[in-house]
């Protein structure tokens, strides 16, 4: 509520049901004039536009105005087609348009947990909380089709949506989309790494091959309609890479 009515704020006229001018005179006489005249709310509520404030001037009632067609903000030329569309001509690109290092993957991890994990789950198996509440289950990342999908495909899905998934263009900046994709690749690798390729130090940490539980015990609980479960090779660490906690 805007505290515009100066009298109703400082004098309980509402409770006493008295006209304001009845009270105003004795109070002024008691020397409160200086204090009370400083209590108007005009400076609190200035007639200016602030983000998302209602506007009486524009027809749609919005202070924030849509960009005019053809407006290009500084640094928003989007002339790097591969970076901004994930495509080279009509084909999805399969090489990251940015350099990927650990910082980028960690950024992707963080952004993935914020924007993707509600549906795709933190492991990328498609069993996120929103799916558990009834959203259409997305495919797991750990299926052959998505393991082989070029990175540009993921970029296109984030940018334009896919099936039941709405686009996330407004929520995730282009650079973060690529960071997320780099993390998706790390997630996929975490469930599909070849034991032979592990460095010796890491191999020594693996549990002995005899004691490894069968994949069915490791994989996540199945939800109706999910036929494709992550194929976890024996001896592969179940935690995704980069999740150092």
């Amino acid at each position: 509520m805007a505290l515009q009515d100066f009298w109703s704020l400082w004098i309980p006229t509402r409770w006493l049901k008295l006209p304001t001018n009845f009270w105003s005179k004795p109070i002024l006489a008691f020397g409160f004039a200086a204090i009370l005249t400083g209590c108007r709310q005009d400076m609190h509520d200035q007639p200016k536009y602030k983000p998302l404030r209602h506007s009486d001037f524009f027809e749609d009632g919005r202070t924030s105005r849509p960009l005019l067609a053809g407006t290009v903000a500084r640094g928003e030329m989007h002339d790097d087609v591969a970076f901004f569309t994930g495509k080279n001509g009509k084909d999805d690109i399969d090489v990251f348009p940015i350099a990927i290092d650990k910082t980028v993957i960690e950024r992707g991890h963080q952004r993935f947990d914020i924007y993707c994990s509600p549906c795709h789950g933190r492991l990328g198996n498609g069993l996120g909380m929103i799916v558990r509440r009834g959203f259409k289950q997305p495919p797991s990342y750990h299926i052959d089709r998505l393991r082989q999908a070029p990175v540009g495909h993921f970029y296109d899905v984030i940018t334009n949506g896919y099936g039941a998934m709405y686009n996330y263009a407004a929520q995730i900046a282009p650079r973060d989309r690529w960071a997320i994709i780099s993390y998706i690749r790390a997630l996929q690798y975490s469930q599909n790494a070849n034991v032979g390729e592990l460095p010796p130090g890491m191999k020594a940490q693996l549990p002995s091959m005899d004691k490894v539980a069968p994949p069915s015990a490791v994989s996540s609980p199945e939800i109706k309609g999910s036929s494709e479960q992550p194929n976890i090779p024996k001896g592969t660490p179940a935690t995704p890479m980069g999740e150092a906690k």
Binding site: M1, L9, W10, D60, G61, M129, G134, F135, A164, Y166
Partner: protein, 217 residues
């Protein structure tokens, strides 16, 4: 006829009139202070009825959705945005699609008319608060907004009075968190908060900004 009042009554009457004025002034000033600090003036603790009764305790609490899923601009802009209707529809295009409660959301999505959400945290217009820098320097969401993940309807947890701002601006080490815990709800500060706080203030170059023009410009 003898005089009714003793001669000293002259003095007594003057003293009593003046002291009555002083007492009344004091009581008035005290009432003024009480009123100015009351939730009637600061809106502290006042739950807002919203056009759609969106529950943060459900979405951020039970569902565990990160603050930034909806309030996307909080890390980069002064203003932490209220999400557009499309963000609601990311999930509600499929979930609770027949709910009466959500009809306004669907109508807004169809017609492209904004939902008139009620602003809960309304700083005076002469205060230039910037979310991004606070988040970046380690002020947790919870530090100012309280346990949003436990609020069915959001209310203003703190008074947002200037003295409240200054409490932290003068001694930020009391409240700052490690950057990784900024978005955590239910964070328990370590027992050595002041020690860790002092370290964080140094490491993250947190300034004690208490000039007028820090906020009033």
């Amino acid at each position: 006829m003898p005089q009714i009042f003793h001669h000293s009554s002259n003095t007594l009457s003057k003293i009593s009139i003046i002291s009555a004025l002083v007492v009344l002034g004091g009581v008035g000033a005290a009432l003024f202070e009480l009123m100015a600090d009351s939730s009637y003036a600061t809106n502290q603790g006042v739950m807002r009825v919203q056009p759609v009764q969106f529950s943060h305790s459900h979405h951020a609490g039970s569902m565990g959705i990160d603050c930034r899923y909806c309030h996307t601009s909080v890390e980069n802009a002064a203003f932490a945005n209220i999400p557009p209707t499309k963000t609601c529809m990311n999930c509600h295009s499929q979930i609770w699609t027949n709910s009466k409660e959500l009809e306004m959301v669907r109508a807004s999505f169809r017609s492209d008319e904004s939902i008139p959400w009620v602003k809960v945290h309304d700083l005076p217009d002469f205060v230039y608060f910037n979310h991004s820098i606070h988040v970046k320097k380690g002020v947790g969401c919870e530090t100012c907004h309280g346990r949003i993940d436990q609020m069915p309807l959001v209310y203003q947890k703190n008074s947002l009075e200037m003295r409240w701002c200054l409490d932290c601006h003068r001694n930020p080490e009391q409240y700052v968190r490690p950057p990784s815990e900024v978005f955590t709800m239910g964070y328990k500060p370590p027992e050595d908060q002041l020690v860790m706080g002092a370290r964080l203030v140094k490491e993250n170059h947190i300034q004690k900004l208490d000039n007028c023009y820090t906020c009033h410009r």
